[in-house]
């Protein structure tokens, strides 16, 4: 398979977005949880911030990450004219 410049560009943009979103995922998951004890002083909706992030904040951010990725990639597909025909076998 001979790769064209356009295809490489498509892949690079995909990788960049993936890395960016994974970084957010990492911070929300591991960095925030690591400091959960120190975030106890801040109160959101009656919860200490550390608890709130684990119970609601992080999961909601996850779903937003996935939503954003799907939107970004589906637009990228259209921009680069990706044919995504239904694959029947």
């Amino acid at each position: 398979m001979r790769l064209e410049r356009k295809q490489r560009e498509y892949w690079r943009r995909n990788l960049r977005m993936t890395a960016f979103l994974l970084a957010i995922w990492f911070v929300v998951t591991f960095v925030v949880s690591y400091f959960a004890r120190d975030l106890g002083g801040i109160v959101v909706l009656g919860f200490p911030l550390g608890f709130y992030m684990g119970a609601q904040g992080a999961p909601v951010i996850y779903v937003l990450i996935i939503w954003w990725y799907a939107r970004y990639m589906n637009r990228l597909d259209r921009e680069y004219g990706v044919s995504d025909a239904e694959a029947e076998d």
Binding site: M1, Q7, A36, F51, N74, S83
Partner: protein, 679 residues
């Protein structure tokens, strides 16, 4: 696609409305004196009949329909089906209870089981869909050219999925025996029938459409009781928003309860009891004879005085149940010691992350929290029954959207689970603890009868202390309707929801195991020329065999079942995650590297789990293999080591070998780069 979606939406909308009408109807009948047992039967019969109908309507004889539902499942419905597939009885029943018992620490499950979908969405689903075959081992075989990678994949699939499916069938037995009054073993096989009617005739196609129906039932069942409870306690029917205030009240109650003198006294007594068992274990075997002798003496004393026969009988039973050998006695007393020890511990504050006295304890708790979360996420992104679902969408774009919908539907449950824990804790701390032993609510005794709740007035003050109450975590969810004083129809609804959660996951898992064996082993390795018809016959027979095998294991009531579910994630994660990720993102990964990485990853996880969790495996004649956990990491997070070892091995071995062939590199590119118009 558009014409395919519209009738589906209408069908499922009217189905959900119909389900509500059915619940209301039963509610009215209950008012007019319908006995609870009949309500249980109605729910069980109606739901299983419903699943069976969908299963029969969706029967198929096409391979593509059977394995991947013809790749015609729209994103939203695939999301719902994944939700039901994903949320097992562990999520439905176990999560709320775990959060109740461990407070903040339990959030590792909430984050782990949702955050894993980020990995699925970003790193796996679109690529697997573009590849577009039937199973996860298919991908491994295509990428790492050969049957060895496929076989290792099949082994890991079967191992992780079988452990998981046994837990589901066990849950089915539990629910049917509690709510319908069937015998546990009978319940297991009734559940099995419910599972088979869906998957046997229609494979993935039937399983998908049943799972959509099951999602509707399970989510309604999960949300209804806690919404009513929230309305009762706070006046606002949105538990997800109101439980913050409730937790603040819990915090105030905790301050009052934890340091109460009677509470401290009860904990001290449990501590003494644990010490007593410890001494007995140390002085085995003499202590066993002593114990028997002591009981005999007591019985004789009682018999000579004219005390009630009941007490004598209780002591005699105690003597009968005494273990016969000192190995048995050790295990028996260790269990009792652990139980008493747990009750003697000072309870943790619900809202405090990484609790415990001292920096070192906090740090270990934090490390365990983070590593458990890591394992659950990586396991989510590696469990074959979840990944297979993304083969069923019509296109790569739909696969991406579908991950979004999956997590969206899953969040409906996961954002609510902490609310269950909060409301239950509030109820128990404010009403149950400190009440008189003689006037405990009915649910305590009805769940106590089947051993799910246990109460012991150790300090004989006639009042229930927090330390004197202990229960199986599953009770929190199942008993909430009774705790809130709701009609029995709501309990029946919760049972139907729990059943749907267990059945839908079991369906997906059984199908995955059967496909791995029938498609990957039989068709791809042994009989590549087998006819379509014959392949389906093999697949269906294997499904039957695996199902019966899983049910017979489950009917033995294996004790470590909850641990095993957490292990399944570590096992799947360490076997698949490194090989799948590097397979897409690192062209240099070679077949030898991947195979050795999968084997070493899996082996190190198993090694760590076994040695940390067990000291001896009697049926293999192995003793004294226990070891201290590394860095204090528990066996449930064993995957941390396995995943690291897997990545490391693949990278090192690949770099030492020859780069993969041109064909393999082309394959990677075909998965990465889509066909562009005009190229």
């Amino acid at each position: 696609m558009a014409d395919y979606k519209i009738p589906l939406r209408r069908y499922y909308a009217s189905y959900t409305v119909g389900f509500f009408v059915f619940i209301l109807g039963l509610g009215v009948l209950e008012r007019h004196g319908m006995p609870p047992r009949w309500i249980g039967y109605s729910f069980l019969l109606l739901t299983i009949l419903l699943y069976a109908t969908i299963g029969v309507l969706a029967r198929t004889a096409s391979v593509s329909e059977y394995y991947v539902a013809g790749r015609r499942v729209p994103a939203v419905f695939n999301g719902m089906a994944t939700g039901a597939d994903w949320m097992s009885s562990a999520s439905f029943m176990g999560l709320a209870g775990t959060l109740y018992l461990s407070g903040y620490q339990g959030l590792a499950y909430v984050m782990g089981w949702t955050g894993g979908y980020v990995l699925v969405a970003l790193l796996l689903a679109p690529y697997l869909r573009r590849f577009g075959q039937f199973t996860v081992p298919d991908f491994l075989a295509a990428r790492y050219g050969g049957n060895l990678a496929r076989l290792v994949g099949v082994f890991a699939t079967v191992l992780a999925s079988f452990v998981y499916v046994v837990a589901q069938i066990y849950a089915v037995g539990l629910i049917t025996s509690r709510f319908v009054g069937l015998q546990f073993e009978v319940g297991v096989f009734v559940g099995l029938a419910g599972i088979l009617v869906c998957s046997f005739l229609g494979g993935m196609r039937a399983v998908t459409w049943t799972q959509v129906a099951q999602y509707a039932i399970l989510i309604v069942a999960y949300l209804v009781p806690v919404t009513i409870l929230s309305y009762q306690v706070t006046g606002i029917p949105l538990p997800q928003l109101t439980y913050g205030q409730v937790l603040q009240k819990v915090q105030v109650l905790e301050e009052g309860i934890f340091d109460e003198p009677a509470e401290v006294d009860a904990r001290r007594l449990f501590h003494e009891r644990a010490d007593g068992y410890y001494e007995r274990i140390l002085s085995l075997p003499a202590s066993l004879d002593q114990e028997r002798h002591h009981l005999t003496q007591q019985i004789n004393d009682l018999k000579s005085s004219n005390v009630q026969m009941r007490e004598v009988a209780a002591l005699e039973r105690q003597r009968r149940e005494l273990p016969t050998s000192s190995t048995e006695a050790r295990a028996y007393w260790e269990t009792l010691m652990r139980q008493a020890g747990q009750r003697s511990m000072e309870p943790e504050h619900h809202l405090t992350p990484f609790p415990g006295n001292g920096e070192a304890v906090n740090d270990t708790a934090r490390l365990n929290f983070l590593s458990l979360m890591f394992c659950l996420m990586v396991g989510t992104a590696a469990l074959p029954h979840v990944l297979t679902r993304y083969y069923t969408t019509p296109s790569v774009r739909e696969a991406r959207n579908s991950v979004f919908w999956s997590l969206f539907f899953i969040l409906a449950l996961y954002l609510t689970a902490p609310a269950y824990a909060a409301f239950a804790k509030h109820e128990i701390y404010s009403h149950l603890v400190g009440s008189s032993m003689a006037q405990l609510p009915v649910w305590v005794s009805s769940w106590g009868k089947i051993g799910m709740v246990s109460i012991e007035d150790i300090n004989n003050d006639g009042i229930l202390q927090l330390a004197e109450l202990s229960f199986n975590p599953d009770v929190i969810l199942l008993a909430t309707p009774e705790i809130a004083g709701l009609p029995y129809v709501v309990s029946g609804l919760v049972a139907a929801g729990a059943l749907a959660a267990a059945l839908s996951t079991a369906d997906g898992l059984l199908l995955t195991i059967a496909s791995a064996l029938a498609h990957d082993v039989y068709y791809k390795i042994f009989r590549p020329k087998a006819t379509t018809q014959w392949r389906l016959v093999v697949s269906k027979s294997l499904l039957l065999v695996v199902a019966v095998l899983a049910a017979s294991v489950a009917s033995q009531k294996p004790a470590t079942i909850l641990f095993m579910v957490a292990w399944a994630f570590s096992l799947a994660g360490s076997a698949f995650f490194p090989a799948l990720i590097l397979g897409v993102f690192w062209k240099r990964a070679t077949a030898t590297g991947a195979v050795s990485g999968m084997i070493i990853g899996l082996a190190s996880t198993i090694y760590y789990m076994v040695r940390v969790h067990f000291d001896s495996i009697p049926w293999l004649g192995i003793h004294g293999i226990g070891m201290e956990p590394w860095l204090g990491i528990q066996s449930t997070a064993a995957g941390v080591w396995g995943v690291a070892a897997g990545f490391l091995t693949i990278v090192v071995v690949s770099l030492f070998g020859k780069p993969p062939s041109g064909a393999t590199q082309d394959f990677v590119e075909s998965v990465r780069y889509p066909e562009l118009d005009g190229s």
